[in-house]
Amino acid sequence: MIKRIEIEPIPLTEGHSKLILKVDKNIIVEGFYYALVPVRGFGTMLLDKEATFAPIAASRICGMCQAVHSIATAKAIEDACNIEIPETAQKLRELISLSVRAYNHLLHHILISGNMFKNPQKRHTFIKNVQKIRKTVSSILETVGGGIIHPSNIVIGGISSPIETPVKERLIALIEEAEKLAKEEIEIFIHHIERLWKEQKLPENLGEHKLPFITSKEISNVSIKEIYPQEIFNELPLKREATNTIILINENGAETGVRARKIREERYKPKGGIKELHKLRAEEILLSLKNIKRILETEKLDKETRNKQFPTSDNEKEGVGIVEAPRGVNIHKVKVDKSGKITYYEIIVPTALNMIAIAESLKGEKVEYAEMIVRAYDPCIACSTH
């Protein structure tokens, strides 16, 4: 007999969310994961507002992946208004989004550590370790972005202040320190993940799914469709309760995020399952740090970083800003009119894309693993209820 189980809230995740599972003999037949934070209305909030406000507002969509929203919105507006930004600014933006990536993955380690350790003291020690790297990564974010949680240096037309050579040298020293720390931390994290799997006798392929993968590089060649919870659910209060929309890629679900990036960039053959996801995410911290170092070492960052052209457009051209956020593809679409006002705004966030991947991963697994599967995708509810 099929039972219905509701789990709410899901601890150790960002935001307030809920799982509805259809269960047959303790095995999940079908599962839905959705957000319960009220729709925050950033899309409509920006309508008929000046475009210059958009990066500031967009940063406040999320407190974790802040900068990627600012960058995406700035890119979209620049695209709509044909503003070319200096190369230095592009590099600095890349640097910011890479440090946001490392910062977020580390944050996820702190959240997930609640699952890994039974002893609070051991968890405390682990968190202490993670905090050390987060500190160095955040000071890069603070230096380049002008703030950790809502960086204010990201403006339309570039970045508001360049990085002089002495500052750059300090950053390189910081990143070297972070790299060292990160290597240790990643080892410890992976060790504990392996231990967890062993101790709880979890299946190696827990949370496997057969969906395709998507990154920001392929996103422009696929069809994107937004579906409302009202279309999926028939029963009340479900259809009026879920506050996130779900994104279909080519009429199908897709996974985005760290695994997709790995497949795309390194032709990696995925094994499937959430254990792999955890491991890849940990490894990507080091990769991001290396990329930051590469940018710092090879690029000149003290040149002009801002094109001060006022953003206006013809109200026809749809500007698209695509950024590879920590959790996957993040898209902002915008239209701007002649007076510099926003006339159309749309946001597509990675968590909305991953909703189907989460649902697929839940299928066929035991009920007690449901929360763990959700956590592995590091869902960001704040973004998905933008």
Binding site: S139, E142, T143, G146, G147, I148, S161, P166, V167, R170
Partner: protein, 301 residues
């Protein structure tokens, strides 16, 4: 009753010196010598101050990153130029370990408040190591200075220096010197400065008084850290005479009395004065009645 005791007008200090830099005798050179000494003694590795930008005709905040840059620095007193607006950039971007500041009491108030509450700045604000307070009789706008000079029928109101001498406020350009009495000067004072009760920058390590007497300026040392500046310094230093201190004290008293009048005037009309929170005027009465009972030492963080 209320008395303007030295502890209130000047604040608590441990030692008072008069200092004179080599070269041209001016109070701004004396301050520069003090800053250079701080760099040399490794008390600071960067300092913020206010500099006069003659070309563009306004005062702006500057950030001095090394001893060499002190040369170009043109300290200007009694105008703040928004020094603290630089703080965010400095603390976030440059991340100096030992930061100094040379500013008036309100600039230091801003920093002290930031350090105490932490609003608007991150941990880096704790990096301030040396606070050079500048005794201030009240800020005046550049236009105010122009008006003062016009009052003296000066045709070409240029100036590059302002300081105190003989209980007078002196404006100086290359060739000429004009002096103004406290009363003349007070009229053009910034309204916010007319309610100030902290002319001597009490919340600092050391207070520099932009006065000039035989080429010497008065400094009041408040913390042990600042005493280091006077061990074998690169400028000539003497123990301050009673008369040196009294000279500034009487000028400060003069301004404080006027300020109290302004505060009472504001109180009568129910206009808020600064520095008293919540029950602002209640606190002022407390001050009025209990000043001698209070320990008025200020904490330096």
């Amino acid at each position: 009753m209320f008395g303007l005791y030295r502890q209130f007008t000047l604040g608590r200090y441990t030692k008072a010196f008069i200092i004179k830099a080599s070269g041209e005798a001016s109070s701004k050179n004396n301050l520069k010598a003090l800053i250079k000494e701080a760099f040399r003694k490794d008390l600071i590795d960067g300092i913020i101050g206010t500099s006069l930008n003659k070309k563009e005709g306004f005062v702006s905040p500057v950030f001095i990153k090394c001893e060499k840059e002190v040369e170009k620095f043109e300290p200007f007193f009694f105008i703040h130029g928004g020094q603290n607006s630089l703080l965010k950039k400095i603390t976030q971007k440059y991340s100096f370990e030992k930061l100094g500041v040379a500013g008036h009491s309100c600039v230091l108030d801003g920093i002290n408040k930031m350090q105490y509450f932490g609003i608007g700045s991150n941990f880096t604000v704790t990096k301030f190591t040396l606070k050079i307070g500048i005794a201030c009789i009240g800020a005046i706008s550049l236009e105010g200075i122009k008006c003062l000079l016009k009052e003296k029928k000066v045709k070409n109101p240029g100036f590059n220096e302002i300081f105190l001498e003989n209980n007078k406020i002196i404006l100086k350009n290359k060739y000429e010197k004009f002096d103004f009495s406290a009363k003349e000067y007070y009229y053009y004072l910034n309204e916010g400065c007319k309610v100030c009760m902290n002319l001597s920058s009490r919340g600092s390590d050391i207070t520099f008084v932009p006065s000039l007497r035989n080429g010497y300026s008065l400094v009041l040392v408040r913390s042990a850290k600042a005493l280091k500046l006077f061990e074998n310094p690169g400028f000539s230093v003497k123990k301050a005479e009673k008369s040196d201190i009294e000279e500034f004290e009487s000028l400060a008293k003069n301004f404080l009395k006027k300020n109290i009048e302004t505060i009472l005037e504001r109180a009568e009309f129910g206009i808020p004065s600064n520095k008293w929170d919540g029950n602002r005027f209640g606190r002022f009465t407390a001050l009025w009645n209990n000043i001698y009972a209070e320990n008025i030492e200020e904490e330096v963080f």
